[in-house]
Amino acid sequence: MTLTLASIEAGYGLSRERLLRIEYHLRLTRSLEERIVSLFRQGKVIGGIYRSLGQEGESVACAAALDFSRGDIVSPLIRNMGSLLVAGALPVEILRQYLARGNSLTRGRELNIHIKDFKRGFMGPVSPLGAMIPVMAGVTMAGRIQGKSMVGMVHIGDGGASTGAFAEGLNFATVQRLPLVIVIENNGYAYSTPTVKQTLATRLADRALGVGATGETVDGNDVLATYAAAKRAVDRARAGEGVTLLEVVTFRMKGHAEHDNQSYVPKEVIEEWKQKDPVDRYERVLLEAGVATPDDLAAIQARVKGELDAAVDEAERSPLPIAEDAARGVYHGDGFWDEPR
């Protein structure tokens, strides 16, 4: 079967505009991360960076299945910068985090993508893995009490799925039939620990079986397939059919953080996954289906470059935090969070 725009529209319900928007977000994610790496090398980033190279596909595709106009909320992990961008976080907001600026969303108190804005529909994680599953259960539970038709989506890794918080949250959300999609990113490793040392299960989606949720596994580097699976899960959630545990199979193409050279990953494996790069694959689909021309893709990259030039510039010009502010905004009532920055 030859791919055409019509066949994609029929199969996935995605218009040309939305397909190109996905492409834009894929490129935006990858390029923004490259900017962050280069700022890091210049010594401008405070703290570490955690790459999502190779995982932009599932991040963007899953978030694209949400409907932020209906109040949907996504809670990404550190390697889901793409989800945040789809939800409407601005590159400059993410850059200000990495540069620890006083006018960042967290005012320099927190790092990388740990940012929240419910109006736009996102909430970054806390570091303890698993914690966001119960929290997002509560977010969707509140949505239901409030009569909203919102859906929640929360990401967890193959490693994070071993936490008790994950297990409690999954079971709790399932038995309460909450409109929550839990995405397990099986990217082969948790820091240096391969998934075979994390669990004997071969399909992480099978955790769903034990609690009565719906489970599904999808090739996370296939953007359209991932979108389709995420969309099914979101639709089920919105229809009141409860929790889906969606396993996206992908690969972490860089070490855990910049200092980790990934020596524990066999070279062939990295080579193999390079061939499966989600952005390359997606672009081939767009070209093959005649959705976009090489010029269209170049135009998108040019747009991304322009936006990021401006964003980096703005971030670097952003003010540093005021030292004395460290003492404020712990509790309600001191006005800190009402002051403009």
């Binding site: 940012i115 977010v139 509140a142 949250g169 509790y331």
Partner: protein, 333 residues
Amino acid sequence: MSENLIPKAGGETLYIDAIRQAMREEMHADPRVFLIGEDVGVFGGAFKTSSGLIEEFGATRVIDTPISEVAITGAACGAALMGMRPIAEMQFINFITVTFDMLSSFAATSRYRGNGGCPIVVRGPAGGGVRGGPFHSGNPEAYFFNIPGLKIVYPGTAYDAKGLLKAAIRDEDPVLYLEHKFLYRRIKEDLPVDDYVVPIGKAKLRREGRDLTIITYGAMIYLAEEAAEELAKDGVSVEILDMRSILPFDEEAMLESVAKTNRAIVLYEAPLTGGVGAEFAARIAEKAFDWLDAPIKRVASLDTPVPYAPQLEDFHRPSKAKLIAAAKELLRY
């Protein structure tokens, strides 16, 4: 909901009923308030603290959960961020340790790190004297006392139980509310019919005195009173300050009292070392030094887990005898 639809209670009220009244009235007054926990709904709670609430408010606002303290408190946090006012019950407060991370990492830091205020109440039966053994007699307030962003209260009277719970529910920040299970059905007070709150962070002077201040909270206020009565027979005039709120606590009231009596005993039910009372003593030692005529004494439980047998538990706990001995030592000073 209009004011006059809120059912008013009051009158002779047990400590435990004060807690239920507070939840009920707040749930009437504010549709954002809901209760979540193990067996809190159909069964009305292991101690029947929430009995009748599910009948009145339905299962969407009185939520029975799996045995999952992390999920219960985590869901409360998520709901709070969405504008709700959850009350999460721990069946026994000991099990709050299971979800220590959710409270310390997520809830306590939420506002500070720009994630928004996280106004949850986590409440549950605390305290010993009920032969509950090591896992059902806990006083965990000190575990959470070095975690900025949390608030902690521990009422000793029915009046405070109601007023502090209302304040906790209305508070914009996460509050740990410890209720003393020994007091549940042993304390009965005449409560006002009208709505009131007891502000978090304000101590209550329970007894005025001249010679010595006992600074305490929770069920220990009654032990302090017993000791004060006995000491009064010897002409010793004891002042008793019920802190009620632990984080933040009423430093001013504490210092004022010590400035007057010049002698202080800090009394608490948890083990001595690392208890909340250490902070009270440290503040006095820094800020009321000039007024002190004697060392600051502490009376607390032994540095052991809570044993089960009555003989052991009684020996473990602070006693009137220990309190009076400490007082006499200070007075001789």
